[in-house]
């Protein structure tokens, strides 16, 4: 077997454990690869940026904070949108994705992002943009965008780890939690210490809700079916365990918990807020990666 032949075999059946033996395909739980491996990594990032941009926009609505909605709008559309395009096989045809909102979650997402882009722009340029009607509509759109990534995964019945009831609440809470952190940092940087300190009241609540959603997801998925349990096993005991313990255990839970306790009662500090934000973002990326990477299909026979 020459080197090129070896490369070909390696491409099809990676020896690092990320693949399976040819004779195990769909006989043992077989993991999904399209939405996380190779170019699929763009989808992971695109979902993340769409979520945090919409989360920041959502939180900024409560404080009528224009720089926040501008940055949230830009992150969602420029970073989220652009990375989505990098993922597609034929990005020039992306406009066709508006064609099937009746059945396709992806198509619905494109519509929602389109409406968000137009109305968000109007809200940004309108002097009295922070009125109740505008805020209500944009708030709903933000929640839909935050949950869009996981909603797209949630409708895949073939992957039990994604087809879980708690996936949507988890994504909404994580989007709001990261958005909250970003906005708090923006307040701290802009010298508005009072607002940054006031936001700390919500930090503990969002963190607790986020933590409970993660626990519920793991517990519910473990008990839902054999394939779903295999996904959680991969996270806890398999090749993904380091990401689980460091990414989720340390970065998403332990570090934010410590900083939240330090800043308890509103005693905030810009540097600590920044460190907590960095940890929360890394933790959120880790959770998304794990959920996307660990999903397996039921064997066919």
């Amino acid at each position: 077997m020459n080197d090129k032949h070896q490369d070909l075999v390696e491409t099809m059946f990676p020896s690092d454990g990320s693949g399976i033996k040819p004779y195990e395909w769909m006989i043992s739980p077989t993991r999904q690869r399209q939405w996380i491996d190779d170019k699929g990594i763009f989808l992971w990032l695109a979902f993340f940026f769409s979520e945090i941009g919409a989360g920041l926009y959502f939180m900024s609505l409560f404080y009528s904070f224009r720089p926040g909605i501008v940055l949230g709008w830009l992150i969602t559309l420029v970073l989220g949108g652009l990375i989505h395009m990098l993922y597609l096989g034929n990005p020039k045809r992306a406009w066709r994705m508006i064609m099937k909102p009746n059945t396709s979650e992806l198509s619905r997402g494109i519509w929602i992002i389109g409406v968000f882009a137009v109305l968000g722009f109007l809200q940004i340029i309108t002097p009295g943009g922070f009125n109740m009607v505008f805020n209500f509509i944009m708030g709903i759109l933000c929640l839909l965008i935050i949950s869009h990534g996981f909603a797209t995964m949630n409708v895949v019945r073939a992957l039990p780890a994604w087809n879980s009831t708690i996936v949507l609440p988890l994504s909404i809470i994580s989007g709001i939690w990261v958005g909250h952190q970003l906005l708090q940092l923006m307040f701290a940087i802009s010298g508005n210490a009072a607002a940054a300190s006031g936001m700390e009241v919500w930090a503990a609540t969002f963190f607790l809700a986020y933590f409970l959603c993660m626990l519920l997801y793991a517990w519910g998925t473990w008990h839902s079916s054999g394939a779903a349990k295999a996904s959680i096993q991969r996270m806890l005991e398999g090749d993904l365990k380091q990401i689980t313990y460091i990414g989720v255990g340390v970065l998403a839970i332990l570090v934010p918990l410590v900083f939240t306790l330090i800043m308890w009662g509103g005693d905030t500090n810009g540097f600590l807020i920044f460190l907590r934000l960095a940890s929360v973002c890394a933790g959120d990326l880790a959770i998304r990666y794990l959920i996307m990477k660990s999903a397996v299909y039921n064997p066919l026979i």
Binding site: K4, G40, G89, M99, S104, L159, I301
Partner: protein, 218 residues
């Protein structure tokens, strides 16, 4: 209008992989791409264990998850029940691949296109001809189409799919033990309907509610 379907007799199948190879030959599929596979597993424990042999292919579901998931309408169910892909509309989002419970779709990208059967020695004449005959489009998804080209050409000549070789899928023609039976699911007198009724044909992973057009009998 007929609704094409297939019955696979798992008791007859000898796992010769003839269907896999005939399909690759028919569609000039690159290395690592399969529209037909044979799954071999086991059930039970010694001394009552048994070997399971299941040839699998696209199930051409009438309520297909891939059709629902496709955001552009590129994947659709034809009037004759065949699930087809319009590669002019496919954006390569791979939602269809992720949503298919049977995992019968392949993403055709540069990595797949450049694979050679004899790595490092260039493409053979057969591979070059194949690329001309079946010019799969880069960045799109490909899958089994029940050899719809053969079916259509054969029917134009007045032949009957499932009975005449020139109007039947390649995997059906090659099967040396006649384990694959192709025909019209909407015709109550067809051979496949008789087999499904008499031998209580089963669909794989029926719980997903996709109504596959491929049945298994034993």
């Amino acid at each position: 209008m007929p609704r094409w379907g297939m019955v696979i007799d798992v008791k007859r199948c000898i796992a010769c992989w003839g269907c896999t190879i005939a399909c690759k030959e028919e569609h000039f599929l690159p290395p690592g791409v399969f529209f037909n596979r044979v799954l071999i597993g086991e059930s039970g424990k010694f001394p009552t264990s048994s070997k399971l042999i299941y040839p699998v292919l696209c199930n051409h579901c009438s309520d297909a998850a891939c059709v629902e998931a496709c955001p552009t309408g590129a994947t659709y169910v034809r009037e004759d029940g065949i699930v087809a892909i319009d590669d002019e509309k496919c954006v390569g989002c791979r939602a269809c691949m992720v949503s298919c419970p049977y995992q019968q779709r392949t993403y055709y990208d540069e990595n797949v296109k450049t694979r050679e059967y004899f790595p490092g020695q260039g493409k053979t004449e057969m591979e070059i001809i194949g690329e001309k005959l079946y010019p799969f489009k880069l960045g799109t998804v490909i899958k089994c189409n029940f050899c719809s080209e053969r079916l259509e050409d054969g029917m134009k000549k007045g032949l009957t799919p499932g009975k005449d070789e020139d109007a039947s899928p390649a995997c059906v023609n090659i099967c040396p033990v006649g384990a694959r039976i192709f025909g019209d699911l909407d015709d109550p007198n067809s051979e496949i309907n008789r087999l499904i009724m008499e031998k209580k044909g089963k669909q794989l992973r029926k719980e997903f509610g996709t109504e596959p057009a491929v049945y298994y009998i034993d």
